[in-house]
Protein backbone atom coordinates (compact mmCIF):
# COMPACT_ATOMS: atom_id res chain seq x y z
CA UNK A 1 0.00 0.00 0.00
CA UNK A 2 1.14 3.49 -0.68
CA UNK A 3 2.29 5.52 2.29
CA UNK A 4 0.46 8.63 1.19
CA UNK A 5 -2.41 7.74 3.48
CA UNK A 6 -0.29 6.13 6.18
CA UNK A 7 0.02 7.94 9.47
CA UNK A 8 3.08 6.50 11.17
CA UNK A 9 5.47 9.05 9.70
CA UNK A 10 3.56 11.97 11.12
CA UNK A 11 2.04 12.94 7.82
CA UNK A 12 -1.24 14.80 7.65
CA UNK A 13 -4.03 12.24 7.95
CA UNK A 14 -5.78 12.59 4.65
CA UNK A 15 -7.38 9.42 3.41
CA UNK A 16 -8.02 10.42 -0.20
CA UNK A 17 -5.64 8.95 -2.75
CA UNK A 18 -5.60 12.32 -4.45
CA UNK A 19 -7.47 15.58 -4.07
CA UNK A 20 -6.97 16.53 -7.69
CA UNK A 21 -10.19 17.64 -9.32
CA UNK A 22 -9.06 17.78 -12.93
CA UNK A 23 -9.19 14.84 -15.34
CA UNK A 24 -5.78 13.49 -14.32
CA UNK A 25 -6.71 10.02 -15.59
CA UNK A 26 -7.10 11.18 -19.18
CA UNK A 27 -3.43 11.44 -20.28
CA UNK A 28 -2.47 7.95 -19.02
CA UNK A 29 -5.62 6.55 -20.61
CA UNK A 30 -4.78 8.13 -23.96
CA UNK A 31 -1.23 6.82 -23.71
CA UNK A 32 -2.44 3.28 -23.10
CA UNK A 33 -4.99 3.52 -25.92
CA UNK A 34 -2.48 5.00 -28.36
CA UNK A 35 0.35 2.58 -27.63
CA UNK A 36 -1.94 -0.47 -27.58
CA UNK A 37 -3.49 0.47 -30.91
CA UNK A 38 -0.10 1.03 -32.50
CA UNK A 39 1.49 -2.15 -31.18
CA UNK A 40 -1.53 -4.20 -32.30
CA UNK A 41 -1.38 -2.78 -35.81
CA UNK A 42 2.39 -3.24 -36.03
CA UNK A 43 2.23 -6.83 -34.78
CA UNK A 44 -0.36 -7.82 -37.35
CA UNK A 45 1.58 -6.16 -40.16
CA UNK A 46 4.98 -7.49 -39.19
CA UNK A 47 3.77 -11.09 -39.26
CA UNK A 48 1.62 -10.70 -42.37
CA UNK A 49 4.49 -11.36 -44.78
CA UNK A 50 2.74 -9.79 -47.74
CA UNK A 51 1.88 -6.36 -49.14
CA UNK A 52 5.18 -4.90 -48.01
CA UNK A 53 6.68 -4.08 -51.40
CA UNK A 54 5.61 -2.14 -54.49
CA UNK A 55 7.85 -3.42 -57.31
CA UNK A 56 7.09 -0.69 -59.92
CA UNK A 57 8.42 2.08 -57.68
CA UNK A 58 10.58 0.17 -55.22
CA UNK A 59 8.50 1.18 -52.22
CA UNK A 60 9.38 -0.91 -49.17
CA UNK A 61 7.52 -0.50 -45.89
CA UNK A 62 9.77 0.42 -42.93
CA UNK A 63 8.39 -2.59 -41.03
CA UNK A 64 10.18 -4.91 -43.50
CA UNK A 65 13.41 -3.01 -43.86
CA UNK A 66 15.86 -4.43 -44.52
CA UNK A 67 14.07 -7.44 -45.96
CA UNK A 68 16.48 -10.27 -45.21
CA UNK A 69 14.34 -13.42 -45.23
CA UNK A 70 14.64 -15.94 -48.04
CA UNK A 71 10.91 -15.27 -48.40
CA UNK A 72 11.48 -11.63 -49.46
CA UNK A 73 10.96 -10.59 -53.05
CA UNK A 74 14.50 -10.63 -54.49
CA UNK A 75 14.29 -6.99 -55.63
CA UNK A 76 13.19 -5.78 -52.22
CA UNK A 77 16.18 -7.35 -50.50
CA UNK A 78 18.93 -4.77 -50.88
CA UNK A 79 21.05 -6.36 -48.18
CA UNK A 80 20.84 -10.05 -49.05
CA UNK A 81 18.46 -12.80 -48.00
CA UNK A 82 19.70 -15.08 -45.27
CA UNK A 83 17.02 -15.57 -42.62
CA UNK A 84 14.88 -18.72 -42.99
CA UNK A 85 11.40 -18.20 -44.37
CA UNK A 86 9.28 -19.21 -41.41
CA UNK A 87 5.78 -17.96 -40.71
CA UNK A 88 6.71 -16.87 -37.20
CA UNK A 89 9.82 -14.99 -38.27
CA UNK A 90 9.11 -11.48 -39.59
CA UNK A 91 10.96 -10.64 -42.79
CA UNK A 92 12.54 -7.69 -40.99
CA UNK A 93 13.54 -9.76 -37.97
CA UNK A 94 17.14 -8.60 -38.17
CA UNK A 95 16.38 -5.04 -37.09
CA UNK A 96 12.93 -5.10 -35.51
CA UNK A 97 14.10 -6.30 -32.06
CA UNK A 98 16.60 -3.45 -31.89
CA UNK A 99 14.02 -0.88 -32.90
CA UNK A 100 11.66 -2.28 -30.29
CA UNK A 101 14.33 -2.10 -27.60
CA UNK A 102 15.36 1.39 -28.73
CA UNK A 103 11.83 2.65 -28.16
CA UNK A 104 11.23 0.55 -25.04
CA UNK A 105 14.29 1.99 -23.31
CA UNK A 106 13.68 5.54 -24.62
CA UNK A 107 13.48 8.05 -21.79
CA UNK A 108 10.20 9.41 -23.12
CA UNK A 109 8.46 6.07 -23.65
CA UNK A 110 9.62 5.00 -20.22
CA UNK A 111 7.77 7.93 -18.73
CA UNK A 112 4.75 7.14 -20.89
CA UNK A 113 4.42 3.47 -20.00
CA UNK A 114 5.46 3.81 -16.36
CA UNK A 115 2.61 6.28 -16.02
CA UNK A 116 0.14 4.67 -18.41
CA UNK A 117 0.59 0.93 -17.98
CA UNK A 118 2.30 0.60 -14.65
CA UNK A 119 0.56 3.55 -12.94
CA UNK A 120 3.76 4.38 -11.14
CA UNK A 121 2.58 7.07 -10.72
CA UNK A 122 -0.54 7.36 -12.92
CA UNK A 123 -0.32 11.15 -12.65
CA UNK A 124 1.46 13.64 -10.43
CA UNK A 125 0.22 13.70 -6.83
CA UNK A 126 -1.98 10.67 -7.44
CA UNK A 127 -0.81 7.84 -5.20
CA UNK A 128 0.39 4.66 -6.86
CA UNK A 129 -0.85 1.40 -5.42
CA UNK A 130 2.29 -0.71 -5.54
CA UNK A 131 3.47 -2.18 -2.29
CA UNK A 132 7.11 -1.69 -3.02
CA UNK A 133 8.94 0.57 -5.38
CA UNK A 134 12.57 0.23 -6.42
CA UNK A 135 12.41 2.08 -9.73
CA UNK A 136 15.33 1.45 -12.02
CA UNK A 137 17.72 0.30 -9.32
CA UNK A 138 17.64 -3.42 -10.06
CA UNK A 139 17.13 -6.04 -12.74
CA UNK A 140 15.27 -5.94 -15.09
CA UNK A 141 14.71 -2.18 -15.11
CA UNK A 142 18.38 -1.55 -14.44
CA UNK A 143 18.73 -2.61 -18.08
CA UNK A 144 17.20 0.71 -19.15
CA UNK A 145 20.76 1.98 -18.84
CA UNK A 146 21.57 0.17 -22.10
CA UNK A 147 19.57 2.71 -24.06
CA UNK A 148 22.62 4.26 -25.71
CA UNK A 149 23.61 0.99 -27.37
CA UNK A 150 20.20 0.70 -28.95
CA UNK A 151 20.67 4.28 -30.03
CA UNK A 152 23.84 3.34 -31.91
CA UNK A 153 22.00 0.53 -33.70
CA UNK A 154 19.07 2.84 -34.43
CA UNK A 155 21.45 5.20 -36.23
CA UNK A 156 22.60 2.35 -38.48
CA UNK A 157 18.99 1.40 -39.15
CA UNK A 158 18.18 5.01 -40.01
CA UNK A 159 20.92 4.83 -42.65
CA UNK A 160 19.24 1.74 -44.11
CA UNK A 161 15.89 3.55 -44.09
CA UNK A 162 17.54 6.44 -45.92
CA UNK A 163 18.78 4.05 -48.61
CA UNK A 164 15.20 2.77 -48.94
CA UNK A 165 13.98 6.32 -49.39
CA UNK A 166 16.52 6.99 -52.14
CA UNK A 167 15.53 3.71 -53.76
CA UNK A 168 11.90 4.82 -53.77
CA UNK A 169 12.68 7.63 -56.21
CA UNK A 170 11.87 5.61 -59.31
CA UNK A 171 9.39 5.64 -62.10
CA UNK A 172 9.09 3.95 -65.48
CA UNK A 173 12.57 2.54 -65.92
CA UNK A 174 14.30 5.54 -64.34
CA UNK A 175 13.99 8.40 -61.92
CA UNK A 176 10.52 9.22 -60.64
CA UNK A 177 8.63 10.69 -57.75
CA UNK A 178 5.22 9.68 -56.52
CA UNK A 179 3.17 10.44 -53.46
CA UNK A 180 4.63 7.23 -52.01
CA UNK A 181 8.21 8.52 -52.39
CA UNK A 182 7.23 11.65 -50.50
CA UNK A 183 5.57 9.71 -47.71
CA UNK A 184 8.53 7.33 -47.38
CA UNK A 185 11.04 10.18 -47.44
CA UNK A 186 9.05 12.29 -44.99
CA UNK A 187 8.92 9.35 -42.62
CA UNK A 188 12.69 8.90 -42.83
CA UNK A 189 13.34 12.58 -42.14
CA UNK A 190 11.15 12.39 -39.04
CA UNK A 191 12.78 9.13 -37.94
CA UNK A 192 16.14 10.88 -38.10
CA UNK A 193 14.74 13.77 -36.07
CA UNK A 194 13.44 11.37 -33.43
CA UNK A 195 16.72 9.44 -33.32
CA UNK A 196 18.96 12.49 -33.17
CA UNK A 197 16.80 14.15 -30.49
CA UNK A 198 17.46 11.18 -28.18
CA UNK A 199 18.75 12.00 -24.70
CA UNK A 200 21.66 9.60 -25.13
CA UNK A 201 22.59 11.35 -28.35
CA UNK A 202 22.46 14.67 -26.53
CA UNK A 203 24.86 13.32 -23.93
CA UNK A 204 27.20 11.76 -26.49
CA UNK A 205 27.32 14.94 -28.61
CA UNK A 206 28.46 17.11 -25.73
CA UNK A 207 26.31 16.68 -22.64
CA UNK A 208 28.94 14.53 -21.00
CA UNK A 209 31.56 17.29 -21.21
CA UNK A 210 32.29 19.72 -18.41
CA UNK A 211 34.34 22.11 -20.51
CA UNK A 212 32.26 23.29 -23.43
CA UNK A 213 34.87 26.00 -23.94
CA UNK A 214 37.49 23.40 -24.90
CA UNK A 215 35.22 21.67 -27.42
CA UNK A 216 33.51 24.38 -29.47
CA UNK A 217 32.28 22.01 -32.18
CA UNK A 218 30.74 19.54 -29.78
CA UNK A 219 29.23 22.43 -27.85
CA UNK A 220 27.55 23.54 -31.04
CA UNK A 221 26.28 20.05 -31.75
CA UNK A 222 24.99 19.77 -28.18
CA UNK A 223 23.15 23.08 -28.55
CA UNK A 224 21.47 21.90 -31.74
CA UNK A 225 20.55 18.49 -30.38
CA UNK A 226 19.24 20.14 -27.21
CA UNK A 227 16.80 22.15 -29.31
CA UNK A 228 15.49 19.02 -31.00
CA UNK A 229 15.55 17.15 -27.70
CA UNK A 230 12.96 19.54 -26.29
CA UNK A 231 10.60 18.11 -28.94
CA UNK A 232 11.45 14.48 -28.26
CA UNK A 233 8.04 13.56 -26.85
CA UNK A 234 6.25 15.04 -29.85
CA UNK A 235 8.63 13.30 -32.24
CA UNK A 236 8.06 10.00 -30.45
CA UNK A 237 4.33 10.19 -31.22
CA UNK A 238 4.68 11.77 -34.66
CA UNK A 239 7.01 9.00 -35.84
CA UNK A 240 4.63 6.31 -34.57
CA UNK A 241 2.03 8.01 -36.75
CA UNK A 242 4.23 8.34 -39.83
CA UNK A 243 5.52 4.77 -39.49
CA UNK A 244 1.98 3.41 -39.46
CA UNK A 245 0.91 5.74 -42.25
CA UNK A 246 3.86 4.79 -44.47
CA UNK A 247 3.25 1.12 -43.86
CA UNK A 248 -0.44 1.45 -44.56
CA UNK A 249 0.21 3.35 -47.77
CA UNK A 250 2.61 0.71 -49.04
CA UNK A 251 0.16 -2.02 -48.05
CA UNK A 252 -2.67 -0.30 -49.88
CA UNK A 253 -0.63 0.14 -53.08
CA UNK A 254 0.73 -3.37 -52.91
CA UNK A 255 -2.72 -4.85 -52.39
CA UNK A 256 -4.04 -2.76 -55.25
CA UNK A 257 -6.60 -0.79 -53.19
CA UNK A 258 -5.59 2.37 -55.04
CA UNK A 259 -2.74 3.55 -57.22
CA UNK A 260 0.09 5.91 -56.49
CA UNK A 261 -0.48 9.50 -57.71
CA UNK A 262 2.66 10.29 -59.73
CA UNK A 263 4.37 13.65 -59.59
CA UNK A 264 7.39 12.98 -61.80
CA UNK A 265 7.41 9.98 -64.14
Amino acid sequence: MSTITETSAGRARISARTLRTDRWWLPPLLTVAGLTAWVSYATVRVFMQKWYWVPEYHYLTPFYSPCVSTGCEPESALFGRFLPNWGILPFGALTLPFLLMFRLTCYYYRKAYYRGFWASPPACAVAERHKRYTGETRWPLLGQNLHRYFFYVAVLISVINTIDAVDSLRGNGGFGVGLGSLIITGNVVLLWAYTVSCHSCRSIMGGRLNHFSKHPLRYKLWTQVSKLNAKHQELAWITLGTLALTDFYVMALSAGWFSDPRIVN
Partner: protein, 253 residues
Protein backbone atom coordinates in the same frame (compact mmCIF):
# COMPACT_ATOMS: atom_id res chain seq x y z
CA UNK B 1 -15.35 42.20 -8.51
CA UNK B 2 -15.36 40.36 -5.23
CA UNK B 3 -17.18 37.14 -4.56
CA UNK B 4 -17.48 34.54 -1.83
CA UNK B 5 -15.42 31.41 -2.33
CA UNK B 6 -15.83 28.03 -0.74
CA UNK B 7 -12.54 26.92 0.84
CA UNK B 8 -11.82 23.55 2.40
CA UNK B 9 -8.69 23.89 4.50
CA UNK B 10 -6.99 21.01 6.26
CA UNK B 11 -6.76 21.69 10.00
CA UNK B 12 -4.96 19.46 12.41
CA UNK B 13 -1.63 18.08 13.56
CA UNK B 14 0.19 14.78 13.35
CA UNK B 15 -2.39 13.06 15.55
CA UNK B 16 -5.59 14.05 13.85
CA UNK B 17 -6.99 16.43 11.34
CA UNK B 18 -9.78 17.12 8.87
CA UNK B 19 -10.88 19.37 6.06
CA UNK B 20 -12.81 22.34 7.45
CA UNK B 21 -15.20 24.37 5.29
CA UNK B 22 -15.06 28.16 5.12
CA UNK B 23 -16.83 30.75 3.05
CA UNK B 24 -14.50 33.63 2.45
CA UNK B 25 -14.37 36.83 0.40
CA UNK B 26 -12.11 36.98 -2.64
CA UNK B 27 -11.19 40.19 -4.46
CA UNK B 28 -9.95 40.83 -7.96
CA UNK B 29 -6.28 39.99 -8.51
CA UNK B 30 -5.81 37.95 -5.34
CA UNK B 31 -3.78 34.81 -4.88
CA UNK B 32 -4.60 31.82 -2.68
CA UNK B 33 -2.28 33.07 0.07
CA UNK B 34 -4.28 36.35 0.28
CA UNK B 35 -7.42 34.38 0.91
CA UNK B 36 -5.74 32.19 3.52
CA UNK B 37 -4.57 35.38 5.24
CA UNK B 38 -8.10 36.78 5.15
CA UNK B 39 -9.33 33.59 6.80
CA UNK B 40 -6.71 34.04 9.48
CA UNK B 41 -7.69 37.66 10.05
CA UNK B 42 -11.44 37.30 10.02
CA UNK B 43 -12.49 33.79 10.94
CA UNK B 44 -9.82 31.60 12.42
CA UNK B 45 -6.91 33.41 13.99
CA UNK B 46 -5.06 30.21 14.86
CA UNK B 47 -4.72 28.90 11.27
CA UNK B 48 -1.04 28.01 10.85
CA UNK B 49 0.58 28.91 7.53
CA UNK B 50 4.20 29.57 6.59
CA UNK B 51 5.11 32.37 4.23
CA UNK B 52 7.65 35.13 3.83
CA UNK B 53 8.03 36.94 0.54
CA UNK B 54 4.66 36.69 -1.20
CA UNK B 55 6.67 36.94 -4.40
CA UNK B 56 7.50 33.33 -5.26
CA UNK B 57 11.08 33.76 -4.15
CA UNK B 58 11.45 32.45 -0.59
CA UNK B 59 9.93 29.03 -1.17
CA UNK B 60 8.04 28.98 2.15
CA UNK B 61 4.41 28.76 1.13
CA UNK B 62 4.26 25.37 -0.61
CA UNK B 63 0.97 23.53 -0.16
CA UNK B 64 -1.43 21.45 -2.22
CA UNK B 65 -4.30 23.26 -3.85
CA UNK B 66 -6.99 21.02 -5.26
CA UNK B 67 -4.50 18.24 -4.84
CA UNK B 68 -1.73 19.92 -6.84
CA UNK B 69 1.52 21.01 -5.20
CA UNK B 70 1.84 24.77 -5.65
CA UNK B 71 3.14 27.96 -4.08
CA UNK B 72 0.13 29.62 -2.46
CA UNK B 73 1.53 33.07 -3.20
CA UNK B 74 1.87 32.36 -6.92
CA UNK B 75 -1.48 30.70 -7.47
CA UNK B 76 -3.98 33.21 -8.74
CA UNK B 77 -7.60 32.81 -7.71
CA UNK B 78 -8.60 33.67 -11.28
CA UNK B 79 -7.50 30.25 -12.57
CA UNK B 80 -10.26 28.56 -10.59
CA UNK B 81 -13.93 28.40 -11.27
CA UNK B 82 -15.77 30.73 -8.87
CA UNK B 83 -18.29 28.08 -7.97
CA UNK B 84 -15.87 25.24 -7.26
CA UNK B 85 -14.73 24.39 -3.74
CA UNK B 86 -11.01 24.93 -3.28
CA UNK B 87 -9.14 22.38 -1.19
CA UNK B 88 -5.94 23.52 0.54
CA UNK B 89 -3.86 20.88 2.29
CA UNK B 90 -0.29 20.71 3.60
CA UNK B 91 2.41 18.97 1.56
CA UNK B 92 1.71 15.30 2.05
CA UNK B 93 5.20 13.84 1.93
CA UNK B 94 6.56 15.56 5.04
CA UNK B 95 5.42 15.29 8.66
CA UNK B 96 2.81 17.91 9.47
CA UNK B 97 3.45 20.33 12.33
CA UNK B 98 0.12 22.07 12.24
CA UNK B 99 -2.49 22.92 9.63
CA UNK B 100 -0.64 23.94 6.47
CA UNK B 101 2.84 23.87 8.00
CA UNK B 102 5.05 20.83 7.52
CA UNK B 103 8.44 19.87 8.86
CA UNK B 104 10.82 19.86 5.89
CA UNK B 105 13.86 18.59 7.82
CA UNK B 106 14.08 15.62 5.42
CA UNK B 107 15.36 18.04 2.80
CA UNK B 108 17.97 19.66 5.04
CA UNK B 109 19.25 16.25 5.90
CA UNK B 110 19.52 15.27 2.23
CA UNK B 111 21.33 18.54 1.51
CA UNK B 112 23.91 17.74 4.21
CA UNK B 113 24.56 14.31 2.72
CA UNK B 114 25.96 15.77 -0.50
CA UNK B 115 29.66 16.60 -0.30
CA UNK B 116 30.36 20.25 -1.02
CA UNK B 117 32.17 21.58 -4.08
CA UNK B 118 35.69 20.12 -4.18
CA UNK B 119 38.23 22.45 -5.79
CA UNK B 120 40.97 20.86 -7.87
CA UNK B 121 44.36 20.33 -6.26
CA UNK B 122 46.77 23.21 -6.52
CA UNK B 123 44.21 25.91 -7.21
CA UNK B 124 43.73 28.32 -4.35
CA UNK B 125 40.47 30.12 -3.65
CA UNK B 126 40.52 33.30 -5.69
CA UNK B 127 42.32 31.54 -8.51
CA UNK B 128 39.28 29.76 -9.93
CA UNK B 129 38.89 30.64 -13.60
CA UNK B 130 36.00 29.45 -15.71
CA UNK B 131 34.71 30.32 -19.15
CA UNK B 132 31.27 31.86 -19.43
CA UNK B 133 29.82 29.01 -21.53
CA UNK B 134 30.89 26.46 -18.92
CA UNK B 135 29.18 28.38 -16.14
CA UNK B 136 25.98 29.08 -18.06
CA UNK B 137 24.71 25.56 -18.02
CA UNK B 138 24.29 25.38 -14.25
CA UNK B 139 22.61 28.78 -14.00
CA UNK B 140 19.27 27.12 -14.61
CA UNK B 141 19.71 24.90 -11.55
CA UNK B 142 20.65 27.86 -9.39
CA UNK B 143 17.23 29.40 -9.91
CA UNK B 144 15.96 26.89 -7.33
CA UNK B 145 14.18 28.59 -4.43
CA UNK B 146 14.16 25.42 -2.30
CA UNK B 147 10.41 25.24 -1.98
CA UNK B 148 10.63 21.41 -2.01
CA UNK B 149 7.50 21.04 -4.07
CA UNK B 150 9.49 18.67 -6.28
CA UNK B 151 10.61 16.63 -3.27
CA UNK B 152 7.00 16.55 -2.12
CA UNK B 153 5.48 15.40 -5.40
CA UNK B 154 8.08 12.75 -6.25
CA UNK B 155 6.29 9.42 -5.93
CA UNK B 156 9.50 7.64 -4.90
CA UNK B 157 9.15 9.07 -1.39
CA UNK B 158 5.62 10.44 -1.49
CA UNK B 159 4.13 7.00 -1.96
CA UNK B 160 6.90 5.05 -0.24
CA UNK B 161 8.05 6.45 3.07
CA UNK B 162 10.50 3.54 3.30
CA UNK B 163 12.50 4.92 0.37
CA UNK B 164 13.39 8.13 2.20
CA UNK B 165 16.76 6.94 3.57
CA UNK B 166 17.93 5.76 0.14
CA UNK B 167 16.72 8.60 -2.09
CA UNK B 168 17.97 12.18 -2.16
CA UNK B 169 15.04 13.46 -4.23
CA UNK B 170 15.02 15.55 -7.42
CA UNK B 171 16.23 18.78 -5.84
CA UNK B 172 19.39 17.17 -4.49
CA UNK B 173 20.06 14.88 -7.42
CA UNK B 174 19.96 18.10 -9.41
CA UNK B 175 22.58 19.50 -7.04
CA UNK B 176 24.79 16.47 -7.75
CA UNK B 177 24.26 16.96 -11.49
CA UNK B 178 25.26 20.61 -11.13
CA UNK B 179 28.47 19.69 -9.30
CA UNK B 180 29.24 16.87 -11.72
CA UNK B 181 28.95 19.30 -14.64
CA UNK B 182 31.06 21.89 -12.81
CA UNK B 183 34.29 22.55 -14.75
CA UNK B 184 36.38 22.78 -11.59
CA UNK B 185 34.81 20.21 -9.29
CA UNK B 186 37.28 17.41 -8.64
CA UNK B 187 35.10 14.90 -6.80
CA UNK B 188 33.66 11.78 -8.43
CA UNK B 189 29.94 12.29 -8.19
CA UNK B 190 28.69 9.68 -10.65
CA UNK B 191 29.18 6.52 -8.66
CA UNK B 192 27.85 8.17 -5.51
CA UNK B 193 24.79 9.46 -7.35
CA UNK B 194 23.77 5.91 -8.17
CA UNK B 195 25.02 4.04 -5.14
CA UNK B 196 24.47 6.50 -2.29
CA UNK B 197 21.87 9.01 -3.39
CA UNK B 198 19.43 6.72 -5.16
CA UNK B 199 19.40 8.11 -8.72
CA UNK B 200 18.18 4.71 -9.92
CA UNK B 201 14.91 5.15 -8.03
CA UNK B 202 13.91 7.99 -10.33
CA UNK B 203 11.84 6.62 -13.20
CA UNK B 204 11.87 9.94 -15.08
CA UNK B 205 8.12 10.38 -14.90
CA UNK B 206 8.72 14.14 -14.65
CA UNK B 207 6.39 15.20 -11.83
CA UNK B 208 9.22 17.24 -10.29
CA UNK B 209 9.47 19.20 -13.54
CA UNK B 210 5.69 19.63 -13.68
CA UNK B 211 5.45 21.32 -10.29
CA UNK B 212 8.64 23.39 -10.19
CA UNK B 213 7.58 27.04 -9.80
CA UNK B 214 10.89 28.17 -11.29
CA UNK B 215 10.22 26.06 -14.40
CA UNK B 216 13.55 24.31 -14.07
CA UNK B 217 13.71 21.37 -16.48
CA UNK B 218 14.82 19.11 -13.63
CA UNK B 219 14.30 15.81 -15.43
CA UNK B 220 15.54 16.75 -18.91
CA UNK B 221 18.50 18.89 -17.92
CA UNK B 222 19.67 17.39 -14.64
CA UNK B 223 18.35 13.89 -13.93
CA UNK B 224 18.55 12.33 -17.40
CA UNK B 225 21.99 13.84 -18.13
CA UNK B 226 23.13 12.54 -14.74
CA UNK B 227 21.78 9.09 -15.58
CA UNK B 228 23.75 9.20 -18.83
CA UNK B 229 26.88 10.21 -16.92
CA UNK B 230 26.38 7.29 -14.56
CA UNK B 231 26.16 4.99 -17.59
CA UNK B 232 29.47 6.45 -18.78
CA UNK B 233 31.04 5.49 -15.51
CA UNK B 234 29.28 2.34 -14.44
CA UNK B 235 27.58 0.59 -17.35
CA UNK B 236 29.69 1.31 -20.39
CA UNK B 237 31.58 -1.86 -21.32
CA UNK B 238 34.16 0.02 -23.37
CA UNK B 239 34.95 2.41 -20.55
CA UNK B 240 34.99 -0.51 -18.14
CA UNK B 241 37.39 -2.44 -20.36
CA UNK B 242 39.61 0.60 -20.74
CA UNK B 243 39.78 1.08 -17.00
CA UNK B 244 40.74 -2.59 -16.55
CA UNK B 245 43.45 -2.49 -19.19
CA UNK B 246 44.94 0.90 -18.39
CA UNK B 247 44.20 0.80 -14.68
CA UNK B 248 42.77 4.27 -14.56
CA UNK B 249 39.41 5.93 -14.40
CA UNK B 250 38.49 8.18 -17.30
CA UNK B 251 39.40 11.75 -16.48
CA UNK B 252 36.73 14.41 -16.52
CA UNK B 253 36.64 15.62 -20.09
Amino acid sequence: MSYTAHFRVWRGDSNKGELVDYNVEVNEGEVVLDVIHRLQQTQTGDLAVRWNCKAGKCGSCGAEINGRPRLMCMTRMSIFDKSEALTVTPMRTFPVIRDLVTDVEFNYQKAREIPAFAPPAGVAPGEYRMEQVDVERSQEFRKCIECYLCQNVCHVVRDHEENKPAFAGPRFLMRIAELDMHPLDAADRKRAAQEEHGLGYCNITKCCTEVCPEHIKITDNALIPLKERVVDRKYDPLVWLGSKIFKRTPANA
